[in-house]
């Protein structure tokens, strides 16, 4: 039934200890799987006198269930080949004898050798990842014999580990990018993991039967060349990290398709045990009359569904585009290879405890805005040495002005909020303190000062945090800013923001005053270098003219990138902002 599993499931056929003692003098047909005792030899791939090493294919055998490639479990020179094509071979039968057999005993190999593999899957088609290989070898780094290592790449959503069922490499062997190196059994399927590096294997750090986690080192290389960072296509002037590149690529892709983020990145859907309800396709359509019927046999369609491959994304290699079982597996493998190439953070998350010990839990996919936010903020937090400066502004007078001018903003379709005023205040401050309107290029050891001002405003939506950007804030008046702010917040909440509307920021404001709080330390929105947080303004007793007066106080929190901004500058910058709030007149004089 489940061929996929059958083909790759670990076999437990262990040979007796007696076999173990006979050191690699002959190679016997290993166990091929449950209830398979024999097979027809359809293709012999060895010759007497040839040298053979462990893992190398010996022959193709046709069993009741499939044609399988049988790999050698011994290394040495082939003496006598005792079988010929067309023979029916039984498990345990001697296939060939070995001269100068090296230490690889027959016994432990029985486990490896017992992994029949559907033949055309691997050798027939090199993974596409292998194509650009020669160029990469030519890069100067190749000449440097730096030992590199291969870590288990990301395997897909919600898969963080797998059981190593078959290792396809051995120390001293040459691997090239795209070559399958092991089979891993995850919750979802048995998958072949391709290498992303090329070179000679020095040491293998895992063994069969072991649980391997994403990010774990699988093997090290001698003179290896790690796969070159992909995607240099849209390299902007600023230095961008891997994460940033991914985000950028994502945004570019979205823009190319003319989609909003909402369309390109559908929001989380709870992963119910049962598939989500959708409107029925008209049965006429189901019957294969309206949409094109998939050119795959029913069992192939089922296999794809089982291992989570969209059958329509698989490339059919058969006549008329017919999709075979192998095509589906190849598609799964390519998806994996692609996943292995996407850059990811170097920090492996520590293992989680088993929460179920303490009570019920529910796992919900972290796709969409939440995941993007998580990635972006982790990256910002890891990159930027954060310091948060606190201050407070007396906005008693400003509040009266705000109330007075509120109707005018309303006429323009906006709301005269503290945030709208803060936009104007910050724009003026950024002009006076240009290092707050900058980015750092560590690679080139340069500071990039921006001669434009775009301020992002964090908006709390039901699907997470979004940051629309208001451009050219310095060129707009407060009424205009209020109107634009109102409009963008609405768009954010209605999920209608376009990627363009979230780009081009040089500074960010986040206002939690609507909820409360006396202060917080926001995280800088990388690659910006500072962010201003506003908390709830309160009436507080202030010492004015030798007595306490009730004054409206707005708490300010400025987080900044300490690599670029010194503490004194930050204190001055924030004081300037506080004073601007206190004396709006400053804006017109200095701003």
């Amino acid at each position: 039934m489940d061929l996929w599993r059958e083909l790759a499931a670990p076999q437990t056929g262990l040979k007796s200890a007696k076999d173990k003692e006979r050191m690699a003098t002959e190679f016997k047909l290993p166990e091929l799987g449950e209830n398979i005792e024999s097979g027809d030899l359809v293709r012999l791939m060895i010759k007497p006198g040839a040298s053979i090493s462990e893992g190398e294919p010996v022959m193709e055998l046709e069993t009741d269930k499939a044609v399988v490639e049988v790999p050698s479990s011994v290394t040495g020179t082939i003496g006598e080949v005792r079988v010929k094509e067309g023979d029916k071979l039984r498990v345990g039968q001697v296939i060939f004898t070995v001269e100068n057999g090296t230490g690889t005993g027959a016994a432990p190999a029985s486990k490896t050798a017992a992994q029949p593999r559907a033949v055309p899957a691997v050798p027939a088609k090199p993974a596409p990842a292998a194509a650009p290989q020669p160029e990469r070898r030519a890069t100067p780094t190749a000449s440097e014999a730096t030992a590199s290592e291969f870590k288990l790449p990301e395997l897909g959503e919600n898969i963080d580990s797998g059981d190593l069922v078959r290792l396809m490499i051995s120390p001293g062997a040459t691997v090239s990018e795209g070559q399958p190196i092991m089979e891993l059994e995850t919750d979802k399927a048995v998958v072949e993991v391709p290498s992303s590096v090329s070179g000679v294997v020095r040491e293998i750090k895992v063994k069969e039967g072991q649980k391997v986690k994403v990010g774990e080192v699988i093997f090290t290389l001698e003179g290896g060349v790690a796969a070159v960072e992909p995607a240099r296509r849209h390299e902007p002037v600023e230095h961008i990290s891997g994460q940033q590149a991914a985000r950028l690529a994502f945004q570019l892709a979205m823009r190319a398709e003319g989609k909003t983020e909402e369309q390109a990145l559908p929001p989380d859907r709870p992963q119910a045990a049962t598939p989500a309800f959708s409107m029925p396709v008209q049965l006429g359509k189901v019957a294969g009359t309206d949409r094109d019927p998939v050119p795959a046999a029913p069992h192939v369609r089922r296999l794809a569904r089982e291992i989570g491959v969209d059958i329509r994304s698989a490339q059919g290699s058969g006549p008329g585009g017919r999709i075979s079982e192998d095509d589906v597996k190849l598609c799964a493998k390519n998806t994996l290879a692609a996943a292995a190439q996407t850059p990811r953070g170097t920090f492996a998350e520590p293992e989680l405890p088993d929460f179920a010990k303490w009570g019920k839990t529910e796992r919900v996919s972290m796709r969409g805005v939440r995941r993007k936010t998580a990635e972006h903020l982790r990256q910002a937090w890891n990159t930027i040495p954060h310091v948060t400066q606190q201050d407070r502004a007396d906005i008693t007078e400003l509040e009266q002005l705000r109330a007075r001018f509120a109707p005018r903003a309303e006429e323009a379709g906006g709301k005269m909020t503290v945030t709208a005023i803060a936009l104007k205040v910050c724009a003026s401050a950024l002009k006076v303190f240009p290092q707050f309107n900058a980015s750092i290029d560590m690679g080139k050891e340069e500071i990039i000062y921006k001669q434009y001002i775009g301020i992002g405003v964090a908006v709390d939506t039901d699907r997470g945090l979004l940051v629309p950007v208001i451009r050219d804030v310095d060129k707009k008046n407060i009424v205009e800013l209020a109107a634009e702010m109102t409009q963008l917040s609405k768009k954010a909440r209605d999920r209608k923001l376009t990627p363009e509307e979230m780009e081009g920021g040089t500074f960010t404001i986040t206002n939690l005053g609507g909820i409360g709080g006396t202060g917080f330390s926001p995280i800088v929105n990388h690659p910006e270098v500072a962010i201003l947080g506003l908390s709830r303004s309160r009436m507080e007793p202030e010492w004015v003219n030798n007595k306490f007066e009730p004054r409206l106080i707005l708490p300010l929190s400025l987080s900044y990138d300490h690599r670029l901004i010194d503490g004194a500058d930050a204190a001055r910058f924030l004081r300037w902002i506080a004073e601007a709030f206190e004396q709006p007149f400053l804006l017109s004089v200095q701003g």
Partner: protein
């Protein structure tokens, strides 16, 4: 996937979809209750649909062939029809098959309840035991609705008269009327009309649309139409029935349409068979206590797994949408159960075969020429006329036709249409070809037994390449 044993599953309706689902669920270790008003599973299909009609159609074919045998030098006397015996034979078939299903239920420990079910909520059913008596509220983990469909009645033509029959009444075979009006030229009307006509009734068939079997390709319908024109006393297309009136001597029928002559506008018929379609049985008591949605046409809305808007409830077969065919229901039933068992499955056939069991039979699967035209899809149609088939000639049935609808680019077989004797059996190969994404070459290069009608599939494929053995039709 492993914890599905001990799941309590109820299946409402014991037709082919219902019992297929119940049996598979039992085979997978679930605790299954199957509820149906009849004494045994079987549903409309076995009790008053596919099976009894096929028995009668077999008789019709025999009578036809006996008549035709005159041409071959064999003559029988006039057939004597013992209606009681015929009815008894038909009923014995039904009994045998439904009894067998009852046995199969017992062997699988499916709890069969003769009764009716009403929903209390999404997981609870109130089961009224019509045979054993009593009422019981039972709770289940999953419920599969397989309540099927029933014949449609045109409201304006409603008549409380034993002379007006639906398909159920017609299959009871009360008598052989002298004259019979069949309203509706779909497969039910043509099948039953054929039975009555060969048994001796003068049959008039009226169809609203411009052709019989709307939806089927015209070239497939043509040979049947020609034959029925001889068998029936009249086929009136583009014609509607304006009124039915029950009178002492029969039903007075008023017809309207361009094909109706003035004198024929009002006619008397001994019996009238209304076969204008079927409607889903979705009016299940208490269904409004669940989240199940029913669309405007009365079908229960389902997803690819046959799950309704209420996650614990599934729906399959006629009640869940077109085409209303037993084999589609059975496949859906199995899909639903596998989905319940946690397998990643979907109802996604590339072809659902349709068969009209008239004489000649018509069968098709996958894409039809009509659909290809509607979609503006480029196809090559390879036709093999049965006049070139040795087997068809020996049967004296050369009017048949086999055709393949082929994608000219990939050479894939997208659709198959057959008209002729035994087309219903032949279509299975076409369905397999479509599901396995066979190319025309695959069909052509597969050795077919000679001399059989199945060769017409192979030769159609050869025609696509302009190389058919038994017909000269060079590739253009």
């Amino acid at each position: 996937m492993s914890n599905t044993s001990n799941l309590r599953v109820a299946v409402i309706g014991g037709g082919p979809g219902g019992y297929a689902a119940a049996f598979l669920a039992a085979d997978l270790g679930m605790k299954v209750t199957l509820i149906d008003p009849e004494a045994n599973p079987g549903g409309v299909c076995l009790y008053r649909g596919c099976i009894p009609s096929k028995a009668l159609l077999h008789v019709a074919k025999l009578l036809e062939e006996a008549e035709q045998a005159k041409n071959w030098g064999i003559e029988f006397g006039e057939p004597k029809i013992d209606l009681n015996k015929l009815r008894g034979w038909k009923e014995s078939i039904v009994k045998k098959l439904t009894g067998g299903l009852g046995q199969l239920s017992k062997q699988r420990a499916v709890q069969f309840v003769q009764g009716k079910a009403a929903f209390v909520n999404s997981t609870t059913l109130k089961i009224t035991k019509t045979a054993a008596g009593g009422e019981e509220n039972l709770t289940f983990d999953r419920i599969i609705i397989a309540t099927g469909s029933r014949p449609t009645v045109v409201p304006s033509l409603k008549l409380d008269s034993p002379r007006l029959m639906d398909s159920t009444g017609a299959l009871d075979l009360p008598d052989i009327p002298k004259t019979l009006l069949v309203i509706g030229g779909g497969y039910i009307g043509l099948e039953l009309g054929s039975v009555y006509a060969t048994l001796g009734a003068k049959v008039t068939c009226v169809e609203m649309m411009p052709g019989l079997l709307p939806g089927a390709d015209r070239d497939l319908v043509l040979p049947l139409h020609k034959r029925l024109e001889k068998l029936f006393s009249a086929i009136l297309l583009n014609t509607t029935v304006k009124s039915l009136k029950d009178e002492k001597t029969g039903i007075r029928v008023t017809l309207e349409g361009p094909a109706v002559k003035e004198k024929e506008q009002v006619q008397m018929f001994d019996r009238v068979l209304m076969s204008v379609g079927r409607r889903p049985n979705s009016e299940i008591p208490g269904l409004d206590q669940t989240k199940v949605k029913v669309n405007q046409k009365g079908f229960i809305e389902i997803n690819e797994q046959r799950q309704t808007a209420d996650p614990t409830i599934y729906a399959i077969g006629d009640v869940a949408g077109e085409p209303m065919l037993a084999h589609k229901a059975m496949h859906e039933g199995r899909t639903a159960v596998e989905a319940i068992a946690g397998h990643k499955v979907a109802f996604e056939p590339n072809a659902i075969p349709a068969v009209v069991f008239t004489d000649p039979e018509i069968a098709w699967a996958g894409l039809t020429e009509t659909q290809a035209k509607e979609q503006g899809r480029e196809i090559t149609v390879a036709k093999f006329p049965w006049a070139a088939s040795g087997r068809a000639i020996t049967l004296d049935r050369p009017e048949g036709l086999t055709k393949l609808l082929i994608d000219p680019k990939t050479e894939r077989v997208l659709g198959v249409g057959i008209v002729g004797a035994g087309a219903g059996e032949l279509i299975a190969e076409g369905v397999l070809a479509i599901e396995m994404c066979a190319l025309a070459a695959d069909v052509g290069m597969t050795i077919h037994p000679h001399p059989t009608l199945s060769e017409t599939m192979m030769e159609s494929a050869e025609i696509f390449y302009g190389q058919a053995t038994d017909i000269y039709r060079p590739k253009r």
